[in-house]
Chain length 189, copies 3
């Protein structure tokens, strides 16, 4: 469920990138889909644990399309996004990092792969989108803190699992800690 | 079979990109192989339904190499390609979109993933090639119609399958409709 | 074992790229991890033969992190790397090409896929790293010989396997031949 919120938010964000490039509706859909589904697709392909969720769960693609379509209608810019939606953006980042780590542990892999794939889930869609429109992925361009937040969230999830806490505890703690760190970073510029 | 024609045509096209970059024979082979096999590899990796066709079918790699080698010998440019070969190019695009959609349905996935993977099969090899030589993938650079044609073809295949028509009916109808649309678009510039 | 040496060397080299971009420690870790693990991850994803070694073997990620961390501490530049470490670099390239070809044969695939995946293993991590920092992958930028060496090593491994020689014979012969060719190429500029 939380995962799907991340799909929607990231597809919206992808739409704002499409707007800056003055693309047509089709461009919105392509960029929005890559942003919304890319991180999870990369994670599931690396896990080699059955077809990607984004293809088997019937909600992922429609929700990514809805996000891209809404972005087309709403006509907000990337700057608006950064000003208005940054709380949502931070939440989506953290949700995906926690979900990616959890899914890796559930596939029977260790804690380091869980942190690695949690981070890749959270930043992979955006990085792929940036590659496709030929700009240095934000995550590599001085915005290191973005990825650090994902690492932190994934690590919290892994530690809580290691301590035997229920999954939801690690997820909630990780998301709280990560969102807090992300918002503090925004305030400080 | 049709699929292999697409591999050959796309490897040829990859060679024309290598020529523009003034690469040596080795560059032709690398770019041609990526163009010819990339779309199918991405599709099969996302499907997670056994090793990619391009690796298990003994014809794919030799045919991609033959296309790249022929491009090296023939010395045509990307402009020649666009003028002379655009009918072949349109056919290759449609063939792959139909084959990708069909293969996704055969793996038991739904209609939306089938359209998505059909499109990715058709445009993925060229997009990867463009990324590797550092230019904005044609599919993202104002050439939206290119991808729309792939979506149309994949959709026709999916609809025909849903109506219970034999696979070949959807494939032929899709390729006809898509090639027509593509050629009309060429005429109009 | 040899494979892990390649991971370490490539993570180190990734660090030198991070230095040129004046990244922080986190940048080193991301670039170093992509360089050190990328080639093997791409190979294993294409093979579809179980989760990637880099995720299941508990040594890969720590060794890649150690290489990236050491690069952060040692403060050498990409030029230093080219001057001092080029023997190591050549060895790492050849080790990976041989290991990639061997692993493909072991998965039951033919000789052409083995050469293809051996080459991809050897050059894939570096190419992905170059894409992420937005420069034309060295392997596509006039440095064709780099990839030719990988093809040679993979081919030697495949031929030796075909002749019934023990795996280690092909590996040693391939690495010797490839390293020799690579060093000759360096001398000649």
């Amino acid at each position: 469920m939380l995962d799907l919120i991340g799909v929607f938010i990231n597809a919206l964000l992808g739409g704002s990138v499409a707007r800056r490039r003055e693309m047509d509706l089709f461009g919105y859909i392509m960029i929005g889909t890559v942003s919304g589904l890319g991180g999870g697709l990369i994670r599931d392909v690396l896990l080699q644990h059955g077809p990607p969720l984004a293809l088997t769960n019937p909600l992922y693609i429609p929700i990514a399309l809805a996000g891209a379509g809404l972005a087309f209608l709403l006509k907000f810019t990337e700057e608006d996004w950064n000003r208005v939606f940054y709380v949502l953006d931070a939440i989506a980042l953290c949700v995906w990092a926690a979900a990616g780590a959890q899914r890796t542990l559930a596939a029977g892999l260790g804690w380091l792969p869980a942190i690695l794939l949690g981070t890749i889930t959270a930043v992979g869609g955006g990085a792929t989108r940036d590659l496709l429109v030929q700009r240095v992925p934000a995550v590599f361009g001085g915005n290191g803190l973005y990825a650090s937040v994902a690492v932190l969230v994934a690590a919290v999830q892994v530690v809580c699992s290691g301590l035997g806490a229920p999954t939801v505890v690690g997820t909630v703690l990780g998301i709280l800690a990560g969102t807090l760190l992300r918002l503090v970073a925004y305030r400080r510029g």
